[in-house]
Each structure stands twice: as C-alpha cells, then as structure tokens.
Amino acid sequence: MTPGRLVVLELSRMEATHLAGLVTQFAELLDETGEGLPDDPAVLRLVPDAYADDAEAAREFRGLTQRELLERRSADAGAVLATLAEAVDLSVDGNDPADSEAALVETTLIRLGPDDLQAWLRTLAAVRLVLASRLGITHEDDHVDDDPRFGVYDWIGYRLDGLVRAADGDD
C-alpha cells in the first residue's frame, strides 16, 4: 500500500449515474434504520451480533456501536456521491436528447484520494452485501446468469476488485 496515492477511476457517465442511484438507495436504507435490532436482514448483516453465544453482551455491544456505525456508513456513502456528482451532471450539454445520449457513453475520470478511496471500498462492499441479501445469496455459487440483478451484483464486485488492486498497488 502506498500512503497518499491517488487512484483514478474511469467510468462512463451512464455507469456513474447507475452507481449514484444505487448508493443513494443504500443511504436511504441506512437513514430508515432506527435503534435496536434491525428488522431488515440486509441491514442486520451490516451490524451483526458481535457475540455469537451471549445475547446480553451482543445487545450491549449493539447499543454502544450501532448508531455510530450506521452514521459512518452514511458519511461514506455521502463521500462516494460527492465524488460522483460531477460525472453524473449532464446539464452542461443542454437539452438536446442526442447530446444527452452521447454524453452518457462518454468516459469520465474520478480521482480518489486515500480517504475517498476507503469510503468507496467500504461502500461498494456494503452495497454488495445488501444486494446479496436481496438476491438470497447464501453460497458463493449462488448465481442466476439471466437475472439482470446478478449482473449489477457482478459489476459492483468487478469495480470493487479493481479498486482493491489499485489501493494495494498491484497494477
């Protein structure tokens, strides 16, 4: 790992827009979560019991940590959306539909400093956990090739893996 390294991510505007939509939904899910044991299994996966065999200790740990953890998740999601904002903004090209279409396939560069990179890594990993919960993935081999939602899941995994490699300096 190289501290202070700047990672440049290449995304089409369409990809950036899609990703911003997913992260926005993720942030909304976090905002809707209150105190206590979450009802939603996808959220529960983000704040799992820290004690497997001690319900009292698990509850106490949750009481002390859950709110802050979800707030850090929201802050991470906010940082990701902030770095995506420029790539998603199509207003510069006016109202001609042909211009908008061309703009969507245009490639944009997103520059991530160390803090933003960590926010991206944690957020993409968490979005995958939520998607996996929605898709009912309980084994590594669970995959429905013609279900487009698995395409989204794979795509986030591909982007996460690329960022991990960049963060670790494998390229």
């Binding site: 790992m1 996966r45 983000l46 704040v47 799992p48 019991d49 820290a50 004690y51 497997a52 065999d53 200790a57 740990f61 940590t65 953890l69 850090r72 998740r73 960590q118 890594l121 944690r122 990993a125 968490a126 995958r128 956990l129 996996a132 993935i137 309980t138 084994h139 590594e140 669970d142 995994g157 996460l160 893996d161 991990v164 490699r165 963060a167 670790d168």
Partner: protein
C-alpha cells in the same frame, strides 16, 4: 493501528491447557459468501498493518476453515477490532479464547 497476534500464535495458545481464569479474548472473522477474497486480504493489511503474505494466509484461513482468529488480547480491544471489521462489512465476533 493496534498490534495483533498472528494466527499461528493464537493456535499455539489454543492447544495449551491452562488453569488461568483470565483467559484472553479473541476477535474472530467468519467466512461469508459475498465479500471478495481480495477485499478481505486488503482489510487485514489496511487495518491490522499485516504484510501481504500474512494477510493472504489469514484470508485463506477464513475462506477454507470458515473462520480465523485475527487478534487476541483484552476484551475491550477485541471489541474495538470487531467494530472496525463491521465497518468494513466483515462478519466478526468476540469470544473468550477456547480452552
């Protein structure tokens, strides 16, 4: 970054029988079908400051054995580690070291 005990050492301790009532506590990371192997190894390097090789071995232990002890020590410290692992989306628990 807090120092952590290597899994090899944790296993040595597991094998020992002791009458000491003050058993150490452990942070355990469990395998899940979602987190990428590259990401889990990255988290171990990033958070614990492990070498690439050590992080890879620990990640493989989680993957193949279903879980691995990533740290051992005082309970409060193990809770901090578990909280940090949860921040990264890893499934971690705290326990007293098995006898």
């Amino acid at each position: 970054m807090a120092p952590a005990i290597a899994p090899e050492r944790a296993e040595e301790i597991d094998l020992g029988t002791t009458l000491d009532p003050h058993r150490p506590w452990q942070t355990v990371v469990w395998n899940d079908p979602v987190n990428l192997m590259s990401y889990v190894a990255h988290v171990f390097r990033e958070y614990f400051g492990f070498s690439r090789d050590r992080a890879e071995l620990l990640m493989l232990a989680v993957h193949h054995e279903g879980h691995a002890v990533v740290a051992e020590g005082a309970r409060e410290q193990m809770e901090l580690h578990a909280r940090a692992m949860h921040d990264y989306g890893l499934w971690a628990t705290v326990r007293e070291a098995p006898r």
